[in-house]
């Protein structure tokens, strides 16, 4: 899809004294590996350099978004709870992983993957007392998302966050009923974990040029939530679906980004070469348009029914 006449990247708001660059906070051009730091949509209660814009974003947002956000806050009270005293013994982690994925799908999940928790998936200064992450993806309604950048799409994004959070909460309750500790992590506000690195390691997709994950099933037209647990589970392996091949030459998101925030080549970020989006440019347009999302919707992978064909075509091209 193409976005017709997006608003220009000119702003009636800004900082008089600009805070530390979000790119510096994110570790752009840093050669050493380190964990990520919170930069926006932070729910830890810590004070951060971009807090004023974050608050402004909440206050100018439309009621449809705020309504879902408040309902999400309320349901997240169930992210943790009592663990049943009788523990279900797990002799076959692979069978348990299949069962858990089926439960998640019965609750409404679109895609589900499992990984062990690793260092780069935790924010700096945060630890979690769990071994596994179950990452859940839920597709958004494409007919609403086609309106990006518009409040209709913003409402759909928050509705999807609320719904995928509900699935994670109910899955965590199911695991706790089995006598194993579990905690659900919703979105978009972050505390301990980074959902995208976990999702990539859990085999749900690959990082795309627009800085979001691309899955075979939905492209980038989805939202994530995660359940952390100690329930013994077989883990999934990261996948190669050809995203790197496409993003190396495709310029769709780069060209369609009004503030020109998407780097056309991979950058060094916290000691790793990866796709990266200029935070300082992106966040102003993101705020102006209640969450933008142009890049994820113009991505060829997000075209419904196209993912499998793209994957097969791209992987076939590699054969000599």
């Amino acid at each position: 899809m193409r976005v017709k006449n997006p608003p220009p990247a000119k702003y009636a708001f800004g900082y008089k004294r600009p805070p530390q660059s979000g790119n510096a906070i994110n570790g752009l051009n840093e050669p050493e590996k380190r964990r990520a730091r919170h930069v926006f949509h932070n729910a830890t209660g810590e004070s951060l350099p971009w807090d004023a814009l974050d608050e402004f974003f909440s206050q100018i947002n439309v009621w449809g978004v705020v309504k879902h956000m408040l309902a999400n806050v309320w349901q997240m009270r169930r992210q943790e709870g009592p663990v049943a005293p009788q523990q279900v013994q797990v002799d076959d982690p692979a069978a348990m992983a299949r069962d858990i994925k089926q439960v998640a799908k019965n609750l409404g999940a679109g895609i589900v993957g499992i990984t062990e928790i690793f260092d780069e998936a935790l924010y700096e200064g945060h630890e979690v007392p769990y071994k596994y992450a179950i990452v859940i993806g839920l597709s958004m309604d494409r007919s609403e998302m086609e309106h990006v950048p518009h409040e209709r799409a913003a409402v759909e994004v928050m509705r999807a966050y609320r719904e995928v959070s509900r699935i994670a909460i109910e899955l965590s309750e199911h695991i706790r009923d089995m006598g194993w500790p579990a905690r659900a992590y919703g979105n978009p506000n972050s505390t301990d974990i980074l959902h995208i690195p976990l999702a990539i390691n859990a085999g749900l997709g690959e990082l795309g040029k627009h800085g979001s994950m691309i899955s075979k099933e939905y492209g980038s037209n989805f939202r994530l939530a995660t359940v952390l647990t100690d329930l013994p589970l077989a883990v999934d392996a990261p996948v190669d679906i050809g995203v790197q091949d496409l993003c190396a030459t495709c310029q769709r998101c780069v060209l369609d980004c009004p503030p020109q925030a998407i780097f056309p080549t991979k950058q060094i970020v916290r000691g790793e070469e990866k796709w990266y989006v200029d935070f300082d440019k992106c966040i102003m347009y993101f705020t102006k348009t209640y969450g933008c999302a142009i890049c994820i919707e113009v991505c060829p992978w997000s075209e419904p029914g196209r993912g499998s064909w793209l994957m097969e075509t791209l992987l076939a091209k590699r054969k000599p």
Binding site: G14, Q59, M69, L70, V73, W74, M76, R77
Partner: protein, 64 residues
Amino acid sequence: MRTIDSSYSGQINRLERLKRDVRLLWRIARMLYSYLVEGHRIRKRLHDKEARGEIFYVDEDLHA
């Protein structure tokens, strides 16, 4: 209107959970009030400044 994730609360009893829920409801009510009242003022100030061709400085005008 920042949301704060709840602290770990796995093994709290029913009364403590009720207290936590009441605190959370109170926080949601404050967030709602903030959006409706403060947010209304902020949105109005933004539009006024925009109409005059001025910049709304988030680090100065948000709580002015």
